[in-house]
């Protein structure tokens, strides 16, 4: 027997603080309040109870999508503290794993953005394109995500020579698919209309807010740690930094799509360099971590990840500071949503590619009469799809009329 639960005008579960509370005047957003901390697990405090070698397993699980970035920055911080350089082979393997992760992360974002805009085909196709990347990661590191490949001083596993032709074949396919995807996105007039001029965050604002990653590069703010603070193999390979100029959602998508090509370029060069290195040492064992402090930075798919460690000579860090790029980037929503419609607000907050599902729920306060309504994810997606449909009809009507 099914029991009916009465649900009033306001859904009972949606009364606690939201992630974003939009203040609107009619349909325009005039202000925003951001609440974070839903996934706060106290990782920095947990690190102090783990040995230096155990910490990468912990920090991997800060974020699942960029689970190579945090261990990478952490091991660089420890190596900065100890003054150790990993062997050449380890450097190439690290870069390969990191760039493969960037590939899958950018494709993932494109899929989610497509789904939000109403292009479910884009969602299905990009996620299908990303499966071979995850297969290669599984063959090379042992897991589709949470690779556990980083270790202070080097890497845990070598890439066997036999795997390299498979990786190259996969890269060839992904490159073709990415090309097709890029053309489809850049040429679609409806996507142009939906995303150009939406959620603009300009270069000066980027500087004041410390914006990072594609969020910053889309506005022309030239910051890319792979070039500026090169680690491991990044100073031994050639690649371009993609910069756009408007800082809107369209530019953010363009930067990510074009960065996929750069990642493929880097992986190919690293594989070539790896083949030319004779097999052997993949880790410079660190026996003892002296007292001191170290800073490690790495350019993750979302921006710069910074880890700071301090040691007093013991076998556990006494302080481990983690700063994910989304901490800087999410704050930029303060300015980039202003003046846009509610249907676009979900898209704008997703365009900085935050590390949590921020479009889960939004509260909307109408500043004219103080009334409040709650929009669930379903509502936000529906609003966005409606807007896309409207624009599509406008274009179709325009074409029909000649």
């Amino acid at each position: 027997m099914v029991k009916k639960i009465p649900i009033g005008p306001f859904h009972p579960i949606l009364e606690e603080p939201e992630f974003f509370e939009l203040h609107v005047d009619g349909e325009r957003v005039v202000g925003i309040d951001i609440t974070i901390g839903w996934s706060h697990r106290g990782i920095e405090l947990l690190s102090e109870h783990k040995t230096w070698d155990q910490v990468p397993f912990l920090v991997e699980r800060i974020c699942g999508i960029c689970s190579c970035s945090h261990p990478y920055a952490y091991v660089k911080a420890v190596e900065d503290l100890c003054g150790v350089e990993p062997p050449l082979r380890a450097q190439f393997i690290r870069c390969i794993a990191a760039e493969l992760e960037r590939l899958h992360s950018h494709l993932l974002w494109t899929g989610l953005a497509g789904h939000f805009l109403g292009y479910n085909t884009v969602f299905m196709w990009t996620w299908r394109f990303r499966e071979p990347v995850l297969d290669v990661l599984e063959a090379v590191t042992g897991n589709r995500n949470h690779y556990a490949v980083m270790k202070p001083g080097g890497v845990r596993r070598d890439i066997p020579q036999e795997e390299i032709p498979n990786i190259l074949k996969m890269l060839e396919n992904v490159e073709k698919e990415n090309m097709m995807l890029t053309k489809a996105i850049l040429d679609d007039p409806v996507i142009h209309a939906r995303t150009k001029g939406v959620g603009v965050f300009n270069k000066d604002q980027c500087r004041l807010y410390g914006a990072l990653g594609p969020t910053a590069r889309s506005a022309g703010y030239d910051v890319d740690d792979r070039r500026d603070h090169p680690i491991d193999a990044y100073d031994k390979v050639k690649f371009d930094v993609i910069l756009c100029e408007h800082g809107d959602v369209f530019d953010k998508a363009v930067v990510r799509q074009l960065e996929n090509f750069e990642s493929i370029k880097i992986i190919r060069q690293c594989l070539k360099l790896l083949e030319d290195t004779k097999p052997g040492d993949i880790c410079a064992e660190i026996r003892e971590v002296p007292p001191g402090e170290g800073i490690g930075v790495y350019e993750a798919p979302r921006g710069e990840v910074l880890h700071y460690v301090r040691s007093n000579g013991g076998n556990m860090p006494i302080r481990h500071k983690v700063r994910a790029p989304s901490f800087n980037n999410i704050l930029t929503n303060e300015l980039s949503v202003l003046g846009n419609s509610v249907a676009d607000a979900g898209l704008i907050t997703a365009a900085v590619d935050p590390c949590y599902s921020c479009t889960e729920r939004m509260g909307v306060v109408d500043t004219r009469d103080g009334s409040r309504r709650i929009l669930t994810e379903a509502d936000l997606v529906r609003l966005s799809h409606e807007k896309t449909e409207e624009i599509r009809k406008r274009f179709a009507g325009g074409r029909a009329n000649g």
Partner: protein, 173 residues
């Protein structure tokens, strides 16, 4: 701006109130006195062209050491400003009015270490929920030493890998 030039200009402007330490070609640490740290930060950000990155706090026994990272990207090195806020009631000037990107990190330092930032536009916890007591600062040495932060282990008799696939616990109507 090159490293040597930056070190020279900081020493010229702030004299005895700072102590500069270059630990490696990529890492420069500047220890600044409490009162002038925001001036130093603004000097680096506005005049010397550094990028604002983020900050961190460490609880030493008699105070909280607060540091902010300002990288010089073109020249490939980091300048870290360090300052010290003594206990009890560690207090510092806030930089959030000049660099809006610092708003959240200062709130986090307040929430975790009880560092009070003067003139911060909105100093309240950023990460923890409203359910926690207002004076619970999880990263403070005193709080950690009393083992409040590490929860009692609750292992129970069965583990997840033993229960998966077996009959469920509890009843759902």
């Amino acid at each position: 701006m090159e490293r040597e030039e930056v070190k020279k200009r900081i020493a010229e402007k702030f004299g005895a109130k700072v102590r500069i330490e270059e630990r490696s070609p990529k890492r420069v640490y500047v220890y600044a006195e409490n009162e002038i740290w925001t001036d130093l930060a603004r000097f680096l950000f506005n005049d010397l062209g550094a990028r604002y990155d983020t900050g961190a706090a460490v609880d030493d026994r008699d105070g909280v050491e607060v540091m902010f990272f300002f990288p010089f990207d073109k020249e490939h090195y980091f300048v870290t400003i360090k300052t010290f806020a003594a206990k009890p009631n560690p207090t510092l000037n806030s930089i959030a009015a000049y660099i809006p990107g610092a708003k959240w990190i200062e709130r986090e330092m307040f929430e975790m270490y009880e560092v009070n930032f003067r003139n911060h536009p909105d100093l309240r916890p950023v990460l923890r929920s409203d359910g926690r007591p207002a004076d619970y600062y999880p990263a403070k040495r005193e709080v950690k030493d009393s083992h409040e932060t590490v929860r009692e282990r609750d292992d129970g008799e069965t583990r997840a890998d033993e229960t998966a696939g077996r009959a469920p616990k509890g009843k759902n109507p």
